[in-house]
Point group: C2
């Protein structure tokens, strides 16, 4: 039995899977509370991506040039975690899709490259975006270097200061990275005038990135987002589509359990949507999005309309949310600190296709250490949530004496996240459980926004 299952480059999927063809979604709403006119997004996004955002076509062709750029690391390896299986003494077979092998170190380039490519086709000259932990900003800078676009990333100042090397990565790929709030936008200047030492927030960074895009008088600057939106989920399905082919190669018809970490949903949708398709068609597969106990959007949040950002500038999205004013604890899985969730993932949960689970930080770090000392790699704190749930399921399979097949997505490496490991190993990390009153507060605030019919 092989530890690594590769696909030839010729076997890479040629189409993305669009789950919007198979589930009933609610429309996003404009500031007037009415369903959003796609045209109204044209100042921010190119029309070819807006078309993908609203498409209900089940299979969408991946452009050949995008596939050729993917060959740097795709198809990514599927690996069997034989060393972890042995350490757990479990009858379960654990497979993981290793997305850490991309040049940017995570699954994020799966969408950054097509977004950059479609923008290039459309005539865009420059892309802006915001980044928190830095994974998305790095991936976009990498993608822009490949297709020949300028790239400007607004990075939340507190992260910018704590992780200076993320900026260096972006610069290595020719991208510009500024701390947000910055002096480069009117909104940033206003904030800095009020509070020169403002640590920034994702909401402020989004506002600056959008302003930088729409204020370009040539109209050649567009904005990008690395999660939450439908077209991002679409692009990420290449993960699960490849995994299916790889499992088939070794004679496995279907996994029993599919696991991924979930913040905004980009990695999780990637591994799970192609299998959710099978569940819709009657297959029995347990699909588990794993979120931090301190930011339990799917397990304890409210399913309603809410803003995608903290500043209330975006359209209203139908999703599980803890309220756009919710500020999660500063856990080290920065990519999972999001108040909302991809509307497509939320709809799947509402439809009963998925069984979300929340796990606290310390259990996740213990899982990451177990992973490092068995499988070897030092993984991202986000990915450690998937590993923690995988260990739970593998031990359950052992208890039940069942030879289950578990498929997990490893979203990225943790080489830029060693600060969290350092704090965990020196006993400085704690678990935070979210107070119920925070959720009650959010519930009240959300009552003032439009409700899902």
């Amino acid at each position: 039995m092989s530890v690594k299952i590769f696909l030839d480059e010729s076997e890479i999927p040629r189409q993305w899977y669009n789950i919007a063809a198979d589930i009933k979604t609610k429309p996003p709403l404009g500031p007037d509370g009415k369903p959003l006119n796609p045209q109204s997004l044209a100042a921010v996004f190119p029309m070819n991506l807006i078309e993908q955002e609203v498409s209900t076509q089940r299979w969408i062709d991946i452009p050949e040039e995008v596939i050729e750029m993917f060959y740097r690391w795709r198809p990514s390896p599927l690996k069997r975690a034989v060393y972890l299986e042995k350490a757990l003494d479990t009858p379960a077979k654990i497979f993981y899709k290793d997305e850490s092998v991309s040049p940017a170190g995570s699954h994020k380039p799966n969408s950054a490259i097509p977004q950059a490519w479609y923008n290039k086709q459309f005539g865009t000259k420059m892309l802006t975006t915001e980044t928190g932990a830095g994974q998305w900003g790095s991936a976009l800078a990498f993608a822009c270097s490949l297709v020949g676009l300028k790239c400007k990333v607004f990075m939340v100042r507190i992260s910018f200061d704590q992780k200076p090397f993320r900026k260096t990565m972006m610069q290595t790929w020719g991208g510009e990275c500024v701390a947000s709030p910055s002096n480069d936008t009117a909104f940033g200047r206003k904030i800095l005038q009020e509070d020169p030492s403002c640590p920034g927030s994702l909401g402020i960074a989004i506002s600056e990135a959008v302003e930088a895009a729409v204020s370009d008088p040539t109209g050649k600057t567009k904005y990008t987002l690395g999660s939450v939106l439908n077209h991002v989920m679409l692009h990420q399905t290449i993960i699960g589509l490849e995994a299916k082919k790889q499992l088939a190669k070794i004679g496995i018809k279907k996994p029993d359990i599919v696991i991924g970490c979930a913040g905004g949903g980009s990695n999780f949708s990637g591994i799970s949507f192609p299998f959710a398709h099978d569940v819709i068609n009657g297959e029995e597969i347990t699909i588990i999005p794993v979120e931090p106990a301190s930011c339990p959007t799917l397990t304890r949040g409210i399913y309603t309309y809410d803003f995608g950002d903290c500043a209330g500038l975006t359209p209203l999205l139908p999703m599980h949310t803890l309220g756009h004013n919710f500020l999660p604890e500063p856990i080290h899985a920065g990519g999972l600190r999001y108040h909302g969730m991809s509307p497509l993932v939320s709809q799947c949960v509402v439809d009963g296709l998925m069984q979300p689970r929340a796990i606290a930080q310390l259990e996740c770090y213990r899982a990451a250490i177990k992973w490092a000392t068995t499988e070897g790699g030092i993984i991202a704190p986000e990915s450690s949530h998937a590993v923690a749930a995988t260990i739970q399921e593998a031990l359950k399979a052992k208890e039940e004496g069942k030879e289950k097949v578990i498929l997990m997505s490893l979203s990225g490496h943790g080489h830029m996240d060693l600060m969290g490991y350092e704090k965990f190993l020196s006993g400085k990390l704690e678990d935070h459980s979210l107070a119920q009153e925070e959720i009650e507060k959010a519930k009240k605030e959300l009552e003032n926004l439009p409700q899902i019919a």
Copy 2:
């Protein structure tokens, strides 16, 4: 044409290639100036590794259990650098062996794992070592976690302070990492008493690691080294042996040029020795070890007996050296800042099997940026030396209009080395050329040591 060429796990080489069978080497000398008795190393190394160190058997079996540990990432991919080829508009075909995919991020585990395994077989309970930049210390901690040995790494204090996350990596794998000089050894305490703020050196760290090994009254603690020694070069040949099989798979009988960076020689010997074997047997291949212009051991050093460490504690080795008192400029390719060279690599150069080349730091960083914006990955500053030479050769092939096959070893990723990129990108790096008087000084000092007959 595929970008990535994989081997099945069943195709992994089952034997290492020992070049000592095919070249005439001079013996190391003991402190008395006489050829070293292998037994005298027994306080420091286990006998099974000492046997490998002095062996002249051409092919040495790789233990099955070592191979099973390798499957986490080996056989490593051979990749064709099609994106760089296109950017250079060269007729050359550039292939690179990607050793950055190991859990520790470099080729170092190729020797760390067998060294840990042989020690475990021998009854060793704990391994000690020194580390400069941290690559070897990380690899050894990883290897020890796999076989179940304690691991203690003495890390040069200045690196320890500059790269705190290397320590975190080692701790994640269960290893102990202390700044050297430390209070844990008599030698360290002596140094600290004289100079409490001593920044340390590789020489001091070696002394402490050896003392920590030999002073264990149970005799169950041994010392390990990640480069220079014959058995380390032996273990690394798996790189080139795999590359040969991978080239054969796509119908390439031999490369025209083989390139690797060279500090102590571990990565370089790995990619090149199997091809040097072919050169010995009449094949025409240009083999290029690439070193920093500021530490030009092979291109400007003296071939003579010298100590392996800076403190003069090790046996005398026949090698190219800049003198054991030579302190290279603090360039960012920490793994190439070594005054000497593997005796086996030195002998190959003396025998005319290899054509060493020195390249200055700025050209290497420019090559690394070109790599990141074409191939994608952010590579180690050490590896950038190999890339710079590869670009030189690819452009030469273009001038000559020849479709040459270039094979390069990519020794590791640069995720822990972004400080150097940051300095380069902000214009703070300079080139240092070594003054001839430094070499004259070394020559004089080396005259007091035994000479090669």
